[in-house]
Amino acid sequence: MVADLLTQELEPERWGFKAARLSEVAALGIPVPPALCLRADALVRGTAEAVNATGTWLRLYRPRRVVIRTSAHEDLLESAQAGRTVTVLNCPPDASALVRAIDQEFVTEKNLGGVAGACVLVQEQVDVTLYGVAFSREGRVLVEATRGPDGVTGGRIPQVRARVEGERLAVNANGQTIPSLALIRRLRRVCRLLAEHFGFDVDVEWAWTGASVIVLQVRPVTGEPLEWAS
């Protein structure tokens, strides 16, 4: 069973929380990368239709590079399990190769915690100027950003750190990076919309095109950052 993430809202119990929340974000009108969702239990039974569907999806969206992600029972209110799910960047847009890799490497008990209610996302890899993570709580937003697509989540030193509290903004940037007020302004708005919609403080992985924030993932904030402790 397959689903185009941009065109239908997905239930978390059937597609995992990552895919389900991203489909809700898309429905809110906030940009998310196009993604094809392949149900794990269907992949176990056979991959012929997955190859056909992935080929059609690749011809429709024509991504230059693809990311493969798992979506299962992570990103819960009590436990984000951040980084537990599997992400592979820089995959070529070849349907047979993608599905073969998914079948051999992704659809495992370890990756999906059982195949029921889980899926694999074949997602366009956005190629932008800045990537990062934002935490939002009650008008406060913390932002960290790097130039690489998995820099912040991968533990690299951020090129930009920003903190918004009410109307006060403080940004530190290094490595010739120019602090972007437009980015922080849009991120704050996106975080507010997502927090209102989902009903929890949000941890958002994002990409910045220079004009738009693209949401790559949303999960609840499960631990208070040190900056908020006071």
């Binding site: 918004v164 109307e167 006060r168 903004l169 403080a170 940004v171 530190n172 940037a173 290094n174 490595g175 010739q176 990076t177 120019i178 602090p179 972007s180 007020l181 437009a182 922080i184 302004r185 704050r188």
Partner: protein, 299 residues
């Protein structure tokens, strides 16, 4: 620190390659002709004429957006103690007060023209090598900025500093860091620049300040706790003792009133004030020169 007149300031900026628009200086002029100005700036040019004394004074006479004929006539009627600095008119889009230290440049940026009565809260950018710190205290809120064009004269419009202005200032500073450092070495101390941005000339220094806040003002190394402050909303109010939060506005032409106000502050023993407007603003400069410590009111 030695006071520096506008003429010396322009000469110093020119010598260090920091003057970004043509400026003609007429020292103590009495017989400037419109032909001289036409030859220099073109027949249909509109001009700005600023005046300078032999010492660093602010809020002297100026003429904005004049024809060459009007400019020549105005210059020739100046008091003999003043010199005239003539430059092309161009609409100012944003203003910067830049403080240059050893290893640190701090810029306050506001939209429009930054004059004495401007109470806008600036965006503050501190540049240390390839590291940048930016602080905005009214993030996301447009402020009412003052502009000037030849059709409307002075007018107000909602505006805010955004990425493009910040990037422009950062690029300007980084591209001229060597020149700024050389000027600081020549002067023998940290200094400030007032800059205007216009479409035709980009960022161009308008003046050079010999006084700037202590470096710690920007680096956050001040350790003293914030005391309780009294708020002063008018220059005519009685001045209470102790630190003050100044929430006052003084128009450019009210310099005499400012002088009187500074005198009253001194007599009242005021040694410390907090400002909501910029720490590099005209008001802040005058307060510092009166020996008063100026701090930001925004924690």
């Amino acid at each position: 620190m030695n006071d520096m007149g506008k003429f010396e300031a322009i000469t110093a900026l020119e010598n260090h390659g920091l003057l970004c628009m043509p400026v003609s200086v007429f020292r103590h002029p009495a017989s400037v002709t419109s032909r001289q100005l036409r030859d220099q700036f073109g027949r249909d040019a509109h001009l700005v004429v600023r005046t300078g004394a032999d010492s660093e004074e602010r809020n002297l006479l100026r003429l904005v957006g004049a024809t060459v004929e009007a400019a020549a006539e105005w210059i020739n009627e100046l008091p003999p103690s003043l010199s005239a600095l003539v430059q092309p008119y161009d609409q100012v889009l944003f203003s910067v007060e830049l403080a240059v230290y050893d290893g640190l440049e701090a810029a306050e940026i506001i939209p429009g023209i930054w004059e004495l009565d401007n109470q806008l809260t600036p965006i503050v950018v501190g540049i240390q090598g390839d590291r940048v710190g930016l602080t905005a205290l009214n993030f996301g809120t447009a402020q009412t900025a003052r502009f000037h064009d030849l059709v409307r004269g002075h007018y107000e419009s909602p505006a805010q500093v955004d990425d493009w202005q910040v990037a422009t200032v950062m690029e300007w500073v980084r591209g001229r860091r060597r020149d700024l450092a050389a000027l600081r070495r020549d002067l023998g101390h940290s200094f400030g620049l007032k800059l205007h941005y216009s479409t035709r000339f980009g960022l161009s220094p308008q003046n050079l300040r010999s006084t700037v806040p202590h470096r710690e003002t920007w680096t956050g190394n001040q350790s003293s706790p914030r005391p309780a402050v009294a708020v002063l909303t008018s220059t005519n109010e009685p001045i209470p003792s102790g630190p003050l939060l100044l929430d006052v506005s003084l128009a450019r032409e009210q310099h005499a009133q400012l002088t009187g106000f500074l005198s009253r502050l001194r007599k009242a023993g005021t040694s410390e004030v907090y400002l909501r407007s910029g720490l590099l603003s005209h008001l802040a400069i005058n307060l510092r020169e009166a020996g008063i410590t100026v701090r930001s009111a925004h924690g």
